[in-house]
Symmetry: C2
Subunit: 233 residues, 2 copies
């Protein structure tokens, strides 16, 4: 019944917090900066939802995630003693989000899933960001789909509807895969099937993954290899 | 200067005429039909530009290429003694366009080009058609871009502009690659760089490829391997 799988990316496919922390530490070492990059990653990510909500409510015009990331960054840098960073350094930091590393099961899992299903991103990251990430990490997407194509951010229903339309499938033949319940509930409201993947380390060792009542989803899996198993591929 | 290459697909990447002919011959053999499939492919393709023009002029609403192909097919089938084909057979024929074979240099050429450039489709084929084709033929696209994303057909400038926007690049950093002058001229008018690839067999052994004054393009190449060479990759 399911022909295509659409994947949330930040947290579900890639370890944004660990990656930003690693990239930040290297950036800091090269410049002699002492910063808690894990805390900076958390603060940066915490600004993400409110910023998207402003776009979704129409308070801000449509802008892609690089621009949202930049606005949030400019706001938080002084808190980390980095208010003095210049334009080109701020750009370098924003580009970190194009260079995130996947969880260890992702590439092998996608290769298996791809044998039988069309595999696509469905992220709030823009097309270029997702393409840069895929090139670097060798993520074998069949199609890069993004909130950008609907000029709305998830969980706006237009994002999921646009994706099903571009896949030329009824929503019931598309399964959304995510580590976040709100994303899956919004997809289900449009008619998608849902797979919840547990990512307990998304917020680091001390953080916690999404804690969801799992019976609400069509499938629950530990990682992408378990998802491939559950989907018979 | 160039960061991304956008590729026309029908004729430039895939041999639509030879593929439709091969698929048609198999389809005919299984059903005991005697048809000149090369001529049918030509008639089908000849209806393509007028049909798109009707969409571009607003006479027909936006519809994807499967729907245009179906309308043209319904019109031409009686001419080939195939007016009696039923719904499911017509659907099978329309799906042939998702199963076209690339020219022999394409996969190796794209792999080389991809090392240095972001490689994307930019076709009048819709996203799903291009994804199905890429899966089957193992075309290693970084991104599938399509006229569908602008809901206009090439050579409408909106198609090229939308592509550059999604690549997050100024048009001058994108090179359009095509075997057809009109596509390249429309891309150049929006600011793209242009590469003309000769495909003398696009219309079969007896046909002729596009005959263009080549000095108007930034690059001219025999095939994708020569293009990779010319682009230093």
């Amino acid at each position: 019944m399911v022909e295509a799988l659409t994947f949330d990316v930040f947290g579900t496919v890639v370890d944004w917090r660990g990656s930003i922390q690693r990239l930040g530490e290297r950036f800091g070492r090269e410049r002699g900066l002492v910063v808690d990059w894990g805390a900076l990653a958390d603060a940066w990510r915490a600004g993400y939802r409110p910023a998207m909500d402003r776009v979704r409510r129409g308070e801000w015009p449509w802008m892609n995630l690089d621009h949202l990331h930049r606005r949030i960054l400019d706001e938080i840098l002084p808190r980390f003693g980095l208010g003095g960073l210049g334009e080109s350094e701020r750009r370098t930091l924003v580009r970190f989000w194009h260079q995130l590393d996947p969880w260890p099961d992702v590439v092998a899992g996608l290769r298996r899933l791809k044998r039988r299903y069309l595999v696509a991103t469905l992220s709030n990251g823009h097309v270029r960001l997702l393409a840069d990430m895929a090139r670097r990490a060798e993520l074998p997407w069949d199609v890069i789909l993004s909130a950008e194509l609907a000029r709305q951010y998830k969980p706006d229903p237009a994002v999921y509807r646009t994706a099903a339309e571009l896949l030329d499938l009824p929503p019931s033949e598309v399964m959304m895969v995510a580590a976040h319940g709100d994303d899956l509930r919004a997809a289900a409201a449009v008619g998608f099937r849902t797979a919840f993947v547990r990512r307990p380390l998304e917020h680091g060792e001390a953080g916690r993954g999404a804690d969801e009542a799992e019976a609400q989803f069509d499938l629950v899996a530990e990682d992408f290899l378990a998802l491939a198993e559950a989907l018979g591929t």
